[in-house]
Amino acid sequence: MKNFEYARANNPADAVRLVGDRPGATFIAGGTDLLNLMKDGAQTHDRIVDVNGLALTDISHGNGFLRVGALARMADVGAHRAVREKFPVVSQALLASASPQVRNMASIGGNLLQRTRCGYFRDTGSACNKRIPGSGCPAIDGENRGHAVLGVSDHCIAAHPSDLAVSLIAVDAVVLTNGPHGERRIPFGDFHLAPGDTPERENVLTHGELIVGLELPLTPAAAKSQYLKLRDRATFEFAVVSVAAALDLRGRTVNDVRLAFGGIATKPWRSTDAEAVLRGRALDTATIDAAGRAAVHGAIPRAHNAFKIDLVQRALSRVLHELGGVR
């Protein structure tokens, strides 16, 4: 690991300046991802700016929304009463993430910026277009069981790893930032980027832009939401496939719905097509199956991950049957 400088920010403006000033600088919150990447050599920085001293840990009620500070810890947010009651999908996604030890360290802001678990990306001995643009993507013809089938490009098929992000896109969260060019509100669906031909760009943040918090709008659908995460071992593993669903039923009819998926896509994946299949219809097995088919429409399977297309539809079906009380 290369030597680097450590600086501690006292307020957001300070943090933005300390990173913005230096092209090789970055923020550090819990460090649970950044330090692994630096130790593995997948990322190098000459300065890290510690933001843990910033007063951004609160979870508070606003007018029609819940506000979560970027430095709130995954464990605290997952266990928070208002989150559990008004956004069960978010609480469940957090508590299904990582391990208690990681959740105690890791922050909400850091979670959204964690990088893919693609083994080629994290191995400096392998080619990777995300790490070294233009070097190639060995995953496309390689060990791609964990990789994405949606949102992929010829340059990258790495799956986005965050569970929290999948749940946030299903509740229409907004990311609040503070950067060299001022403050921004970024709708969650616009925050992450599919790889296209610039897989090294994963989100819309500019250098030095600090996430300060999230706004989660209170809606009936969000209050009736669920996260199902499937993986190869019982816990402490990233999603093989996951489903976040928020459902507002009027009688048997779907008044509003949000469907998002993890493990199968290069970014937190919301399927408005699948939602459209359900909206205004009676929730039954046939419509649920149709929504599943819509969700995976256009999926591109590779040698080892084709099963995800089937599995994610089964997972969606399980969630919607449970959430909607359909049997």
Binding site: K2, G119, L230, R233, F307, L311, R318
Partner: protein, 722 residues
């Protein structure tokens, strides 16, 4: 007084381990130590054309960068050195992750930064990575230390022809890695021509021998120390190149050097369980009597080694069958040399135990009854007893506790909500080797005893069990006895592998302790100041630190009294060569499967073993817990993924290589027959590796019972059950 041996005493080193007092190799503090780092190859096969170290040399703090051009020349040690070559001696690359440079710097970070700056250019050749990449290239390797690679008994073809029912199926398992928590570390310290190695090894004496061969120095100039080991599972049983290179570099630089392998380097530096594929054909008469067992297997070998480690011994050892054919083929691939991994007899037994389950369905016979029908205690090679006499009792102990008799054999016959429930079982079996060992015991004038043996505690509890053995033989309380190990200056013992430590070392420790005890008794009866003066030595017993006359217990002396009057410590040595043997048992497993999602949970595991006399019920049970939990990983999750083009391992870390976590561990019950083995002075058999050998098959069999789906390719991940 109830015997100390067998008691579930807590680990004597437990406190040190949980408080950080136990010093592992990487914890060794040596003044002036420098830090080594390996740069490793990014191709699997070919040659280095150029290697530029200019940038690396310029990193502040860098002391030296050794490449194949500058590295001191070493001798490739003969077997059991498993690698077949020493890296950094020429430009040839045999596998991805092979060391191509050794950097030494003042700090670890400097060494790592420099290693990343080395520019290596290669002439790369296409690599073969998986058995499927080399069809038709399998061959019968020459006989290894365990004997020939083909075993024929009776007339297998006739046995199959006469069978009433047959099963013929192919079973496969992927590359596995050991993943001990402690990554391997070496600290090499030269003092003149004397070398001290602080090493994470399962064999200090083998390390001494192999390093001496590689460096062409006398063995007695090398001292190896391993007071603690953070797990090995076979990965640290042989001596690997990083140790040789570190010793050589430290000699060259005249500076102590510390090397700690990274987790990723552990995946290319210390062996693995080879990819394994076996065609198993079993036939049986109507009543279940086996008429033939045929096991034709193929496994990965490296370009530089052809020893076969996934042995099919179970094919001819576990069951009595008049017609047996086992053939262990291998295929050379461009991967690191595979090696043994707890438990090398597992992969073949997994196939046999799955095939027998299939056969039980063909025959309409209970799987336990089928095993009992074919039970034997005789080795077909020589007709001698193998020590399997208590397998029927194991099947009964575990089966009764599990409730096996209530099982409805029909697949999909048990359901709970979304989940199907299945019950499966398998025999467990593993042989243990013979190793010579010696020990030394001293009783000091304060009445305390010190025992020493050049063995290892690889986390299995050697410190604790040998303290019990010493204390029991002497007739002293545990807290008067101190047991030391892991130093080549102590009397020599074998490696801690092949399930041999307890059965071999307990013999020499017991003998040394009894000899010391007898010497003290001799002093007592000869000492006019002793209340025991003039007594017949064979009328004296020792208990709790005291010596009593059996007929008159008021006549007593103490170790402290006798030895302090003697004025100097009493010491004795003992040597022992254990008899190799076979340890068997049975495991019973319950799984719950959500068939819609393909999700499997192992919810209950019950096992019973004949391990001779149980030395310590707590450490023995721990061994079962470890085996059962690892068996869950073997069956359901563990899989080293290797890129088929580059032969690079894609998941060389504990986040991508999925070992079970606590939430995957079932409720586990362990039973032991607990009858002394007559060949051992203390009644011990070898046990370490037996638990796990049948577990993956039992899980797979349970999944079949739950779902009606027979998955013959491990691991059984959810995609295979959709």
């Amino acid at each position: 007084m109830s015997p100390l041996i067998g008691r579930a005493v807590p680990r004597v080193d437990g406190h040190a381990k949980v408080t950080g007092g136990a010093r592992y190799a990487a914890d060794t503090h040596v003044p002036g130590v420098t830090y080594g780092t390996l740069a490793t190859s990014t191709i699997a096969r070919g040659t280095i054309t150029t290697i530029d170290t200019t940038l690396a040399q310029a990193v502040p703090g860098v002391i030296a960068v050794f490449t194949h051009l500058t590295m001191p020349r070493l001798v490739t040690p003969p077997s059991p050195y498993p690698k077949g070559f020493v890296p950094l001696q020429d430009a040839t690359i045999h596998h991805n992750g092979q060391p191509v440079a050794y950097v030494v710097a003042q700090t670890l970070e400097q060494a790592q930064e420099a290693a990343a700056l080395i520019d290596v250019r290669y002439h790369a050749e296409p690599a073969k990575v998986a058995i499927d990449d080399a069809p038709g290239e399998e061959f019968l390797p020459p006989p290894g230390p365990e004997g020939p690679q083909e075993f024929v008994h009776g007339d297998p073809a006739a046995g199959l022809a006469n069978a009433h029912k047959k099963v013929d199926a192919t079973y496969s398992s992927p590359v596995h890695h050991h993943n001990p928590i402690e990554t391997s570390a070496t600290v090499a310290v030269w003092d003149g021509d004397q070398l001290t190695l602080h090493e994470s090894t399962q064999s200090i004496s083998l390390t001494q021998q192999i390093v001496a061969q590689a460096l062409s120095v006398p063995q007695n100039t090398i001292r190896v120390l391993t007071p603690f080991l953070g797990g090995g599972f076979g990965s640290k049983a042989p001596v690997w190149p990083h140790t040789l290179l570190t010793a050589a570099v430290a000699r060259q630089l005249r500076k102590p050097v510390k090397l700690v392998l990274t987790r990723a380097q552990m995946y290319t530096s210390s062996g693995h369980r080879a990819e394994f594929r076996q065609q198993v054909t079993v036939g049986a008469a109507k009543d279940g009597t086996l008429t033939a067992i045929v096991n034709i297997s193929n496994q990965q070998l490296s370009r530089t080694e052809q020893r076969v480690f996934n042995t099919s011994e179970s094919s001819w050892m576990v069951y009595g069958c008049p017609n047996i054919h086992a053939k262990q083929l291998g295929v050379r691939l461009d991967l690191p040399t595979p090696h043994f991994m707890r438990s090398p007899e597992g992969p073949a037994l997994v196939g046999l135990e799955m095939a027998l389950d299939e056969l039980s369905y063909e025959l309409g016979m209970d799987p336990v009854a089928l095993r009992l029908k074919n039970y034997t205690d005789l080795n077909p090679e020589n007709g001698q007893k193998i020590g399997n006499q208590n397998l029927p009792e194991c099947l009964k102990l575990a089966g009764d506790a599990f409730g096996w008799s209530r099982r409805n054999p029909t697949p999909r016959s048990m359901r709970d909500g979304n989940e199907l429930i299945g019950w499966g079982m398998a025999t467990e079996a593993h042989s243990y080797h013979a190793r010579a060992s010696s020990a030394w015991v001293q009783i000091d004038t304060d009445g305390h005893a010190l025992a020493r043996c050049g063995t290892q505690d690889i986390g299995t509890g050697t410190y604790t069990v040998m303290t019990q053995v010493t204390a029991e033989a002497l007739g002293m309380p545990m807290n008067s006895v101190r047991f030391e190990l892991g130093d080549t200056n102590f009397p020599a013992a074998g490696f801690s592998a092949a399930s041999v430590t307890v059965s071999s070392v307990s013999g020499s420790v017991d003998k040394a302790a009894r000899a010391a005890r007898d010497a003290v008794i001799a002093l007592a009866v000869a000492d006019p100041h002793s209340p025991l003066h003039g007594a017949a030595p064979d009328r004296i017993v020792t208990e709790h630190g005291f010596l009593f006359l059996t007929d008159d217990r008021t006549r007593r002396d103490s170790y402290q009294g006798v030895v302090s009057r003697h004025g100097k410590p009493v010491e004795a040595t003992g040597s022992f060569l254990n008899v190799p043997g076979y340890t068997t048992g049975a495991s019973f497993i319950e799984v719950r499967v959500d068939p819609w999602l393909g999700r499997v949970r192992v919810t209950r595991a019950v096992a019973a073993y004949d391990i001779g006399r149980v030395m310590n019920h707590r450490t023995a049970r721990s061994q079962v817990l470890g085996g059962m939990i690892w068996g869950v990983g073997y069956a359901l999750t563990e899989h080293t993924m290797i890129d088929r083009h580059t032969a690079r391992i894609v998941n060389p870390n504990l986040s991508g290589y999925l070992v079970p976590v606590n939430a995957d561990a079932p409720k586990i019950e362990a039973f032991f027959v607990d009858k002394p083995d007559p060949t051992s002075p203390v009644g011990a058999k070898g046990f370490g590796e037996a638990p796990i050998t049948g577990v993956p098959a039992a899980i797979s069999n349970a999944i079949y019972h739950a779902t009606g789906r027979r998955i013959r390719d491990l691991p059984i991940t959810q995609d295979k059950l959709l």
